[in-house]
Every structure is written in C-alpha cells, then in structure tokens.
C-alpha cells in the first residue's frame, strides 16, 4: 500500500496540541491606528534577494520556460511571437498581485474594527506561529488553510501581519475581480487571481505556473492557496484539488529548491458568516455574484455575534521528507530543464501524481485533525438525529455523552473547563438561536417561513434550509466519527461477523463515499484498523479471532454512528433510485441536479422520504461521481454536451448493497 508511509497508525487522543492565545484581546485594549502603523519588519527567507512585484513580473515574462511555451504557441497558432508575448503579458497583468504595505495597513485597521464587532475572540496557537517563523527563514513556505468562508484569507493575512510574519501571496478565484474596487484592494493586499477553468489554454497555464514557481523559487513570499479549491458549502472538507499543489512541489522535484514546507492551517468558526447562504445555494438558489454592493449590504452582519474563531497552524510538513523513498528525483535528469525546442512539456509521472495526491490528502487530514470542534457542533449533531425536536434534559445528557465519546475519538474539542454541561449547551443554543429554539422543555430546529400560508414545496424548502444549516455544523465533527461510523454501518450491513466480510463491506462503503468524505486512496486497511481500534476502545465492539462482534454495551454508540451516516446512505440510495427509475437515455449533465432534486421533492411530498439532505446538490454531485467511479454510470462527451449513460442493473445492485440487502462481493463484482 503506497500511502502507508504517510499515515502512521496511532491513537488520535495522544496527539498533543498547542494552547491558544486570543489576538483580539490586545486589539480591544490598545489603539487600532497605532497597530495599523506599527513597525512591520518580518523575518525573511534567508535565500531571498528582495525584489519588487514589477520585477517579479518581468522575471516571469523572461523565464525560459515561458519563452519556450510562447514559441510553441506561436508556432502552432501562426501568430508572431510578439503577439503571443503580449498575450502572456496581459494574462500576467490580469493575474499578478501588487502587494503593498499601505493596503495591508488599511486592512489591518478596518479588519480590527470588523473582527472585534463580529467575533468574541480570534484564537491562534502561538507555538504554531513560532514554528512557521522558523520555517519561513529556512525554506519557501506554502500556507494551506481550510476554506469555509470569505473571511479565511483576510484572517490569514491579518494574523501574519499581527505576528510580524511575511505576508502571503494568495491564489484567489477570478470572480473577486468582478467586485469593483474590492478586487483591486485584495490584489494590493497580496491576492493574485486565477481563472476557475483554463483546461486547454497552454499559455495561461504556463504563465500561471511560472508565476507561482518563480515566487516560490525566489522565496519571494509565502504562497497561500486553498487545497479544497473553493469554499466548502457544507463545512465538510472537500476532496483536494491537485493543480496548484503540483506546481508548488515541482521546484523541489526538479532540485530548484532544497525543500518546500507545507503548512496546513485549520480555521474553525463557531458561526460561519455564510451559513444560511450556503444552505440555500445547496438547494439550488444560485450563489450571489460577488459584488461590492452586495458586500456593503452585508454590513448588517456586523451587528451579529459570530462567537469565537480558532486558527491552528500545524507544524510545517517538509516535502523533502515526504518524498524520501517515494519520488525518484533523477527522473528529470534526461530532459532539458527549461524545455528546449522540440521538447514536449512533461506530464508528471504516475508515481509523482500518486505522491502529490497522497500529500494532498494528508494535508487535508491534518487540517481536519486540528479543526476546533465547538459544543454547538455536538448539539447540532444530536438535533439532526431527532429532527422533530427533543427534551432539553435529554439533549443535555446526550451532549455530555457525545462529548466524552468525541474526546475519546480524538476530537479537538473547545469545551470550557469547570462549567456545567447545561450551561455550555444553553449558551451555544443562544448563540445559534437562528437555528434552534427552546420552547418549554423541548428544543427543536427553527424553521423560517412566511407569515402567511405556504405551499408544501415552500414548507419543504424552508425546513431543508434549516436542516442543511444545522448539518453544516454536524459536518464539522464528521471526520472524528467517520471511520468508526463506516465500520458501524458495515457491521449492520454485513449480515456476518467474519472480519473479512465486514472489511469488504467497509471497503465498499468507503469506496462509495470517497467523494463525500476525506478518505485517502489506498488507505482502506489502515482506516479499518483505526476504526476497529476506536470502537474496541470505547467498548462498542469486541475483536475475537476472525470475528468482529458488537458488544452488549455498544448499542448506543453503534446506533449513534449509524444514524450519523444515515442521511448520506439514504441520499445515495435516492440518487440510485432516480437513475434507475427516471433517468432517460439522454440525461445531460445540466439536467441531472434539477431532475434529482425534483425526484426527491416528489418522494418527500408523497411522504416516502424523510431525509432532507438528499436535496443538497453537493450530495447529489458526489453520489454521481461515486457511481461514475464505480463504472455504473458512464460520462459520454458528445458535440455540445455531456451525457450520462446509466447501467440500470448495476445501479440497482449498488443501491441494494448500500441498503445491506445483498452482501458486498457478490453484488458489485459479480454483476458488473
């Protein structure tokens, strides 16, 4: 198993984590203006020859790599090289950042005001900052924060400014440039803008990758980007995108730098600014286009309480040590380095791709591990398991039980010491009163709705919004329970207690859900071992020779875990059912999501479906990807559109296997 080296099996509870400091505290006690004009002298990379943003651009335009591509493009298109050069310069102009200290100081001032209004505290692990500072001197550093909110990169730069660290240059989506003025402000605070898709554009890719690599090689500034590619609307970590990671690792592979350090940063919000926006988006209300006026309208959020946030800088991960024994760097010895004429741009080898993929998963898992879990997350998790509401006392009891379980499974819980559980729970409920309300002794989800009568569809939609909003909190703790939950589900599906049967069921589920959750490819055995270890530890199962058996006392844990994944299981089954029952021969990519949604709505209204998460477009897409991966659905590209060809028998079999109606091996393997 290739990825074994990257993950050592260990008890997650034993991980030691740093303490946090609230950086807003000082801001509340001293002048923001003085802070904005403080003396800023970051420690720089020791190999750095300082240069201006403009010099950087000309270095990129004159780089041999880019000139080579320019010549190639010119030869292919018949345009003169000068025209192509101008084109490249224009791309770079559109892309490049113009980091200025002035703008940073402006942001330092305004963000101080904003953060103080929004958050009770912004907690940072200072030891992580010290490690980062050390790393920044030694090697080019790549900052890899999790992405849950627009706040993420503002917050990152703000924190680095606060601690007198080099400000990062940040890869941002081009959509920000749509916002007049703000886009340019972001550019001047270090953002550089890339198109969301530029698959075939060789020149664009060359300019972009050379720009990033030049900054990295020169140690110009730390490079920051989001491995997840986009904000996670569900607050679940997204499967990592590899493009930029490939680019930043290449200078190491090719020996242009001694090492590159990757620093995972986990940013956890007690309340995400965009929470209900996300839920609506998932239900098909399109994302509002980024605009300055939209931003100004959002001012009202300043008057709300978003609780506290935690930022955890994990220890730097050295690409060199990860690559030890995995990457044969001499594979690049036999081709010219800067692409001589006639030299075809190399695709990374399979070995390299697999490695980059493993590293990406490793980083996302590190982000997850150090994500702070708030009490509300546990409350939301429990509430979702009884959507109709529950007794407050029961909730208190269960929350306290779940807290202990989460701790045992290694969750990074932010649970106040010496405070009774009831206090903790009620204070988090009050912070999230837009999602949950207490009436009498019962607590239930808040469902917003118009004052007057509403259609059944509207009612369903409103209910779904609050369920999905709540789910976005539950999702923040999924990584803690994921592996044991898959095992719990495998135990109930397997109809056997033989370890190998359970494993194959586990492996199947893991495979199906590998777009939904962060499950490193090829690490199935380790995940299984980890899940067994945890369930044995909490007394839910016993391992007997060749058998995995549910323990007497394990019923509560196992049923909780099974219920945790139930929405996903049901969701996938509904998608399967849709494909089986309603999908036509010419199902296009565009039709898919609306069609599944209306199918699910129909089921809901007929009363045969209770699960709301099926309505989430995220789940629908993931399910489709899983089916494509399982070769049950084929993606066919025709002239204008993408069609999906469904193997109905196979879909049926997947659906049945998910429901535990047929054992794993026979179904999938035999019938495909």
């Amino acid at each position: 198993m290739a990825s074994k080296a990257l993950y050592s099996h260990r008890d997650p509870v034993l991980k030691k984590r740093d303490d946090f400091e609230d950086i807003l505290e000082e801001r509340r006690n001293s002048s923001d203006l003085r802070y904005a004009f403080k003396c800023y002298t970051p420690v720089l990379y020791r190999g750095l020859t300082p240069c201006k943003a403009a010099t950087l651009k000309s270095m990129v335009l004159q780089s041999e790599q880019l000139l080579h591509v320019i010549n190639q493009v010119s030869a292919e298109s018949g345009e003169s090289t000068d025209v192509v050069k101008d084109e490249a310069a224009a791309i770079l102009e559109e892309m490049a950042h113009r980091l200025q200290l002035r703008t940073i100081r402006f942001f330092a001032y305004t963000l101080s005001k904003a953060f103080k209004a929004l958050y009770r505290s912004v907690c940072v692990n200072e030891e992580g900052i010290q490690r980062l500072q050390q790393a920044m001197q030694e090697h080019p550093v790549v900052l890899l924060p999790s992405h849950r909110s627009y706040m993420d990169f503002l917050m990152m730069s703000y924190i680095l400014y606060t601690y007198d660290l080099s400000l990062p240059v940040i890869a941002a989506g081009m959509d920000f440039l749509g916002m007049k003025f703000v886009g340019e402000m972001l550019r001047m605070s270090g953002a550089f803008f890339i198109r969301r898709s530029f698959g075939g554009d060789q020149l664009y890719w060359a300019v972009f990758s050379e720009y990033v690599k030049t900054m990295l090689r020169k140690g110009y500034a730390p490079i920051e980007f989001f491995l997840e590619g986009t904000r996670s609307r569900t607050c679940k970590s997204l499967t990592p995108k590899l493009g930029l990671l490939n680019i930043v690792m290449e200078p190491f592979f090719k020996g242009e730098v001694f090492d590159v350090n990757l620093v995972p940063v986990s940013m956890s919000y007690e309340r995400v600014l965009e929470e209900s926006l996300y839920a609506r988006e998932l239900l098909g209300v399109p994302k509002p286009k980024e605009s300055t006026s939209g931003l100004l309208k959002a001012r009202k959020i300043l008057s709300e309480d978003y609780g506290s946030m935690h930022v955890y800088f994990s220890p730097p991960v050295s690409v060199r040590s990860l690559a030890q024994g995995r990457i044969n760097r001499s594979q690049f010895n036999l081709t010219p380095r800067c692409g001589g004429s006639g030299h075809v741009a190399q695709k990374p080898s399979e070995e390299t791709q697999a490695f980059v993929n493993d590293v990406a998963y490793r980083i996302v898992r590190l982000q997850q591990e150090n994500m702070v879990v708030k009490p509300w997350v546990l409350v939301a998790t429990l509430l979702l398991q009884s959507v109709e509401g529950m007794e407050l006392t029961e909730l208190m009891e269960q929350t306290s039980w779940l807290r202990d379980l989460a701790r045992m499974f290694g969750a990074f819980l932010d649970w106040p010491d010496h405070t009774p559980c009831s206090m903790v729970v009620s204070s988090s409920i009050s912070l999230h009163r837009n999602l949950a309300c207490v009436s009498g002794s019962r607590i239930s989800l808040v469902v917003e709705g118009p004052q007057g009568p509403e259609t059944p569809e509207e009612a369903l939609f409103n209910r779904a919004v609050s369920v999905l909003s709540c789910a976005s909190y539950r999702n923040q703790v999924l990584h803690v329970f994921l592996r044991p939950a898959l095992l719990a589900m495998a135990l109930s599906n397997a109809n056997s207690s033989r370890k190998e049967d359970i494993y194959s069921c586990f492996d199947f589920l893991r495979n199906v859900f590998s777009d939904e959750f962060i499950l490193s490819p090829g690490a199935s055995v380790q995940d299984f071992d980890e899940a067994c270890h945890l369930l044995v530890k909490c007394g839910a199962v016993e391992l007997l020779h060749q058998d995995v058996v549910m323990a007497e006392s394990g019923r509560t844990v196992l049923s909780f875990l099974t219920l945790l994944l139930e929405p996903f299981l049901q969701g996938y089954q509904v998608v399967c059912r849709y494909l089986r029952e309603e999908a036509t021969e010419n199902l296009t990519e565009k039709q898919f999501i609306p069609a599944v949604r209306s199918f699910a709505v129909k089921l809901h209204l007929s009363g045969s479906l209770k699960c709301y998460e099926v309505l989430s477009s995220d789940l629908q897409k993931n399910a489709l990807n899983a089916l494509i991966r399982l070769n049950v659905v084929r993606r066919v590209r025709t002239n204008e559109q993408v069609l999906f060809k469904v193997n109905k028998a196979a879909v049926n079999s997947v659906e049945d296997t998910l429901g535990g109606r047929i054992p794993t091996q026979k179904s999938i393997l035999a019938r495909l």
Binding site: G255, E256, R329, S330, F332, R337, C338
Partner: protein, 628 residues
C-alpha cells in the same frame, strides 16, 4: 588589475613564473626519489634492502598525504606553518590560518587528536603466501617482498576512513606480498603465474585512489599480491614527427612531465594528484587534468595502450589517430580500475612546452554570476587552459593560506584592493567568489585570449583580481590534501568528492542542494559545529561542468566519526544523483560508489561490463572487486 607595466617587464615576470613552476616540479627531482630514477630494465643496486626497490614510505608519510617532510602545523605562537622546501608555501608562516581554522570548525588548538607515532607491525596479520607461486616467482628474478611496511603501504588509498584507521594504528586486510615488475614482460610472467597458482593480483600505481579501489576485499581467501608498477617508469621513445611518446605505465606524473620537458615537450596532463599518481592509474580511472581545455583528458591523450590480462595481451595493431573498427577497445581499458588487467605501456600525445604561461583571477559578486560567466566562456569555446570557480567559503579558505606579508606596502595595497572591491564596487565579502585562470600558449595569443576572457567576465560583473590570487588558487590544490592531515590532528575530518553535471540550472541548484544537504545531515547526525561545506567548478565542457566539493567537520563528541562521515558523504552522493549529477567525473567508482553503478549505467550496461570481465578474467585474478 592584471599585471601592470610595460611589455618587457611583463615578459620578465612571466618567465620568472615559468621558472618558479618548473622549479617547483624539479625540486621533487631524481636525487630525492632514487627508486624512480632507475633507467634500466633491471633496477640498480639497492641501498636499503636487498633485491627490493627503494620504498616510497621512506620519503612519504605512511599515514597521511604526500612527503614526510611537508606538513602543516601550528607553531608555539599558534601560527600556521608549512614545513619542508618542496612547495611555494614551504617554510612560510600563515598568520590567518589559526583563526580561520578555529572559526570555521569550532576547533581548538588545545584539543588534539594525535596519530599513533609509528606502525605497530605486530598488529598486522602475517602474510598468507602461496608457496608455489613464490617459488616460481623467485626463479623469474622479479623483485618481491612480504615486509610488513611494504604491504601496509600498498593496502590503502587516501579515503578518509583509510587514513583515519592508519592514524589510529588499525590496519585491515593487507596484500600478502608486493612484486615490482620492471617491464611489460615481467608483468606477463607475473600474470601467468598468478593464473597458474590462483593468486589474486591488485595493480598498484601511485596509491592516490580516493574510491577505496586499493582496499583488499576482506572476503578474499586467496593470497593477494600487490603488483607495484613503480619500476616501469621509463619513456621508451619520443616520436617528434607525430608528437607522441611511448611510456611505461608506472611512471609518476611529475617525472613524466619533467623527463619530457628535458626534450622540450609536455603532455599537459596535470591532475591535482600528479605529484604521486601514475600514468597507468590515470588510464585505469579515466583521469582528468587541470589543463584539459588545451590538452584533453586522458582518453583524448591516449593513442595506444598495452594491457596484460589473464586472457593475454590486448593492444591495437597501429597508431592511427582515429579508427572505425567497432567499439573502441581502449574504452574497455580506460576506467577499468584494475579489474581486467595491468596497463603496461601507453603511447601519449605530446606537445611542445608552451612559450608563455600566465595566471589570472576574476572576482564575481556572487557564485551565480560566476557560473553564468563560466557558462558563457564554455559557450564561446574560449576557455583558458584552466578555469575554476571557487565559492565564497573557498575564497575565504584561500585567504587563510595567505603567507605573512613581507612589507607594510603590500599590506597597504591588499587593504586598498579589498576596499575597492567591497566598498567601491559594493561586493558583499560574504557572497563574492573568485575564478582562477591559467593561460598557456604563445605570448600574443595568450594576451589576446586573456582580454577576451576578461571582457566576458566583465559582462557578468567580474573584476580582474590579479595573477597572485590565481596562482594561489592553483597552489591550493596541491596543499589541500596536506591540510586534511592538519585537521586530523585537531578533531577535524574531511574529504573531497566530485561530480559532473549539465549546465542549465543544475550546476547552481546542485551546488546549493548538496551543500545544504551536507549541513543538514551533519546536524542530524549530531555533529556539534556546522561543517565546512564548499564547492568549486573545476572544469568546463560544452554541455556541462565538473563540480568539486570539500566537506569537513569537527568530530568532537562523536563516538564513531568515520561512520558519521560516511553517512553524510553517502547522503551527499544521493543528493548529487537526484540533482542530475554523475557518479564521478574523474575519481572513479572503486568500491566506494559501486552500489550506484547499476542505477548509473543501467543493468544492461552493467551486464555488458560483466561479460567483458568474465571473458578476460574468468577466475577473477584481478580481484580488487572495484566497479562491478
């Protein structure tokens, strides 16, 4: 800032330099090396022991580099000094050596790690002789010995671990006897006898190997005979029409050059080890000379080779300057590292002694600019006889070897120069680096050439920095090996290693990454003080360059310093290979770098070499186990 003054003055200086250089070589002449002076097929009467040639260990160190009378030491005042009379540095005081030494390594003159004073012969295992072989050898009249000192002297090269053990008084497996053939026919007889009696032969030339090539394989059960070629040291003929010389392969580099000079010729082949290494050794390791830009490397110089193998004698039938007769059989011999047979005679190209020689140097603001300049020089194919680029650490190291200045005026001038370069030109003394140059040829052309090179250098921010700096740079190569012995007196061990690498950015990146890797590995392995990790570009080619690394560290507090050293060197070699460097440019593979051979030349390539070995030497008579 090159030489100033009118033409005649310049010429005078140049001639003086030539004399100095020639003198430097001549001083190591015949009167001090009686063994080398033998001119007849049978050596003359022996003074020391009967029937055995004079032992090099009489004038050379038994546990260190070079001549016994030449060594660095710190005098009572703590100043560095170099003893003897053989080198320009000999007898001079080096006032800045101590500070550099202590500052660079964190060493302290109070902490000494002296060597055992003399070889304890009882520590050496008695020879295991093959009696039948000895009996028959006696009847041939070829001199031999199984004296312990003779055996120990030929049991090692100059790798760090070899010298370190000797200083500790530890000796591993030694050859069981030494034979001194006097001519090609003697070698034929010895090889025949070795085959007949199943004896293992290890050819020995100058003993300057740094690849563990001379180490006797400990697993060897047969009697091991060291075949010392030192008595085969005559120039057999010089052909002035074709400009070739036919020479016995045991001749030592400096003797070859001196003898040819007497007839007005030279080979121009000057590896850094030329004081001690032999012609046969050069052929067997694919040696490279400092002035290869004019004269070529050994493979370019060789016209004809005669080698004795267990299968018979291999040689070509004519001396055509180039042939299309299948793969060149010379290339099986070049670099065979003593695994196939003994090179006995070689025909070499020779050249008339150049009329004029001039050193030079250029200071660059940083290593990057320096490499760019060397690349441009190579591109324009106008490299001088030698062009080398030292990095900053080595530049400072060179300064540590500056002798005491004789007058206040020179010291003032030096100060002025330093001021000009660092303050006026804004070079950072911690980044600047220096290229040393050696021009050779007729005077006019040298001067033109010099101008061309300095003009190119100027484009890369280079400033001419005088002949003296250049000359000192070259001197450094001869004395640096002596410095290692000094270090070993004070807990400092070190070694050099080399590679060749394509131009593009590999040269720079490789240098940086390897140096960095060394520093990191040392730290990881518990070395207390940052090591000296420095490099220089010593040869340029159309498609790349040769890079030389020096690496040394203070080993106080380490229980097994040699092991640490070997681990770091191993890591450094891995780093070189990962960065596109070769396994070796001219040191060879020996046993030290064998493990990477397959990766380097592919398993098919290795199979080809093995099949040649199997054909020539099926019973592994030449059993030094190098290379394969």
């Amino acid at each position: 800032m090159a030489s100033i003054g009118d033409g005649s003055e310049r010429q005078r200086i140049a001639q003086q330099r030539l004399r100095v250089l020639a003198g430097h070589l001549r001083r190591l002449g015949a009167e001090e090396r009686p063994g080398v002076a033998a001119q007849e097929c049978r050596a003359g009467p022996r003074t020391r022991r009967e029937n055995v040639p004079a032992a090099p260990q009489d004038i050379m160190k038994w546990n260190g580099w070079g001549y016994a009378d030449s060594k660095f030491f710190f005098n009572k005042k703590g100043q560095g000094e170099f003893t003897g009379k053989r080198y320009r540095l000999s007898g001079l005081i080096l006032p800045s050596l101590k500070d550099w030494f202590e500052g660079t390594f964190g060493a302290n003159l109070q902490h000494k790690s002296p060597a055992v004073p003399s070889l304890n012969t009882s520590a050496v295992a008695p020879p295991s002789l093959n009696e039948a072989f000895v009996e028959e050898l006696k009847s041939t009249g070829i001199p031999f010995s199984h004296d312990t000192e003779d055996r120990v002297f030929r049991a090692h090269g100059h790798c760090l671990h070899e010298i370190f053990s000797l200083r500790d008084g530890r000796v591993g497996r030694c050859p069981d006897m030494v034979v001194w053939p006097n001519c090609h026919n003697d070698v034929v007889k010895i090889v025949e006898l070795a085959c007949k009696h199943s004896v293992c032969l290890i050819p020995y030339g100058g003993g300057t190997s740094v690849s563990s090539a001379l180490e006797c394989p400990p697993e060897e059960t047969r009697s091991i005979v060291s075949l010392d070629t030192s008595q085969m040291n005559r120039i057999l003929w010089i052909d002035e029409k074709n400009l070739t010389a036919h020479v016995e392969a045991g001749i030592i580099g400096q003797d070859l050059e001196r003898l040819l000079n007497e007839s007005g010729y030279c080979t121009g082949h000057e590896p850094d080890s030329m004081e001690f290494s032999s012609l046969g050794g050069w052929v067997a390791t694919r040696a490279s000379g400092m002035k290869k830009n004019i004269y070529g490397n050994i493979e370019d110089l060789v016209v004809h080779i005669k080698m004795v193998t267990p299968r018979g004698v291999i040689e070509k039938s004519c001396q055509g300057p180039r042939m299309s007769t299948g793969p060149d059989i010379h290339h099986f011999i070049l670099g065979s590292e003593g695994t196939l047979g003994v090179v006995t005679e070689v025909t070499l190209k020779i050249r008339p002694i150049p009329e004029y020689q001039k050193y030079g140097s250029v200071v660059f603001p940083n290593f990057q600019q320096g490499v760019a300049c060397l690349r441009e020089v190579a591109k324009q194919r106008c490299a001088p006889a030698s062009i080398r680029l030292m990095d900053n650490e080595q530049f400072q190291f060179g300064h540590a070897l500056k002798p005491q200045v004789s007058s206040i005026f020179t010291s003032f001038l030096d100060g002025l120069k330093k001021f000009y370069i660092t303050k006026f030109k804004g070079f950072d003394p911690h980044h600047l680096c220096v290229a040393t140059l050696l021009f050779e040829g007729d005077r006019e052309k040298v001067l033109q050439h010099e101008k061309l090179v300095y003009d190119i250098a100027a484009k890369f921010g280079g400033l001419a920095a005088g002949e003296d700096n250049g000359q000192r740079g070259y001197m450094l190569t001869f004395v640096i090996a002596y410095l290692r012995d000094l270090g070993m007196e004070y807990y400092v061990i070190g070694e050099s290693f080399e590679t060749s690498v394509p131009w593009d950015r590999w040269v720079l990146d490789l240098c940086r990454n390897v140096k960095e890797r060394i520093v990191r590995e040392c730290k990881e392995k518990g070395v207390q003080f940052p090591p000296l990790s420095t490099c220089r570009v010593t040869q340029t080619y159309d498609a790349g360059a040769c890079v030389y690394f020096y690496f040394a560290f203070n080993y106080r507090g380490l229980s097994d310093p040699v092991h640490v050293y070997e681990q770091v060197e191993h890591a450094a070699r891995e780093e070189i290979l990962a960065n596109g460097g070769s396994l070796s440019h001219h040191h060879g593979v020996g046993k030290l770098r064998k493990e990477w051979m397959q990766e380097t030349i592919s398993s098919v390539g290795l199979g080809m070499l093995k099949s040649v070995k199997d054909y020539l030497d099926p019973n592994n008579i030449f059993g030094n186990r190098n290379l394969l």
